[in-house]
């Protein structure tokens, strides 16, 4: 499969502090890459760099992030705005708080769509309802007319996924999409993201500290520690047969359920 996203020797610095050091990896079309690591290991910084969300203090100081022949850190604000949404979608950790609390979900989703394409309200509603149905909402109409706080945490997170999916991006960046959720809701969200890949062939970069989620979703895993790559490889090999001492420590620290 063709490469869609490529990090080459990337260094990222916040006010002189190197948060990411010499990280390289490639993601192919339709692949799910999981990035794991402890707090402060630089895993979120990696995907924020691709989205141009590092903020005024953050800077990619070395290396390139290639997306379809474009080097993302070199793009202007305007070009990044055009890409973010229809090409690169993002799901945030607390999707509920990434919505505006005083406007309905429908109004906000409509706004994000008109930003990128010409679309009538009726057409938007049809597309939104179809998508909401696909990701497991029985009554999509109710969701569109609701305010974000009227939905439960799990529903908000799924609406966050819908918001990112509505523009049908080729790459979906998910920053801890399930960390704030209960296990039963977590499972729903994981299944919906897998469904998204199956139906649209979307590439997903998944940042999480939950190794269970990685095991259930990712094709490849990148393990990070203190901004550096510890291990990078096929999920099965890394989870069951890690080469590095640190990865093994990380795996052995995860409480496992004994069912037998």
């Amino acid at each position: 499969m063709a490469e869609i996203l490529k990090y080459e020797h990337v260094d990222i610095t916040y006010n002189g502090f190197k948060a990411v050091k010499d990280v390289s990896f490639t993601v192919s079309e339709g692949e799910i890459l999981g990035i794991v690591g402890e707090s402060g290991s630089g895993k979120s910084t990696l995907i924020k760099a691709a989205m141009g969300l590092l903020g005024p203090a953050g800077l990619v100081t070395r290396g390139d992030i290639w997306y379809k022949g474009k080097n993302l850190p070199d793009l202007s604000e305007n070009e990044i705005r055009k890409l973010n949404g229809p090409e690169l979608g993002m799901i945030f950790q607390s999707a509920g708080s990434s919505f505006c609390p005083i406007r309905t979900v429908g109004a906000q989703l409509y706004e994000s769509m008109t930003e990128h394409e010409q679309i009538s309200k009726a057409e938007f509603r049809a597309r939104a309802l179809e998508l909401l149905r696909k990701i497991g909402f029985e009554n999509g109409q109710r969701i569109l007319d609701a305010y974000p706080f009227e939905l439960s945490g799990g529903m908000q997170q799924r609406v966050g996924i819908a918001a990112a999916m509505l523009l049908n991006p080729s790459v979906l960046m998910a920053d801890e999409p399930t960390s704030a959720l209960d296990v039963s809701v977590q499972k729903q969200v994981v299944e919906e993201m897998l469904l998204v890949r199956k139906s649209f062939g979307t590439t997903i970069v998944l940042v999480t500290h939950n190794i269970g989620v990685i095991g259930a979703m990712a094709d490849k895993v990148l393990v990070m520690k203190n901004g550096e790559t510890v291990e990078y490889g096929e999920t099965k090999q890394v989870l069951n047969n890690a080469k590095e001492e640190y990865t093994r420590t990380l795996m052995s620290a995860v409480p496992k359920l004994r069912r037998t």
Partner: protein, 255 residues
Amino acid sequence: MEQPILKVDNLTKIFTRKGQPDFAAVDHISFDLMPGECLGLIGESGSGKSTTVNMITRLLDPTEGKIVLDGDDITGISGRELRKVYAKMQMVFQTPTDSFDPRCTLGDGIGESLRNNGRSRAETKAEVARLLEQCGLTAEFASRYPHQVSGGQCQRAAIARALAVGPKLLICDEATSALDVTIQKEIIALLNELRRNHGSELSILFICHDIALVQQFCDRVLVMYKGRIVEKGKPDDVIRNPRNDYTKRLIESIL
């Protein structure tokens, strides 16, 4: 028969709101915690775990029911009597850094209860050093501020603080949920060591939403759902043969 360290009888909390039906956050729950035992309490967000703990620790007044700590009914007491209760019962909270006063050093926080109980400054200092070392830190951590230490170190200090008064009951409300798995493992190892050293002198009520962790750490588990205890027993038995639909769903959801 041995007397339970904590006995909760028909405990209920009903929240009332204007114009809306009453909401029973905790609905007539009863359980015992025996000396030296570690009891896990699991359930999803909104199942009433924290409300239960808040009532046991008397941070919230129950609507109905009785709480008996070490043979004394502590349900309605207040003031001086209530303060005495905290010599027997101590808490470890979810976010370690927020549970310390940011303007005081960790040593101040840990030693506060000792000073309040009439220990001299020098005695307190020595005891704080001993407590920190017991919890896997060095004595010099006493002079650090909460923001100067990592989350795991801060949680160790919080455990040291809880142990300062020599409590019989330690209540850990999601004490490891905010920590990385590697740090979580260390904290669990520390709690296990404390249990070994204290024997039946220390009981733990462990609130958690991670059923796998409860299986590793607890002797017995209670599953809460919508304010009720829907299942109880040994973690292995509950996980192998869940009888309640909710418990089944919870176990199936584990990835």
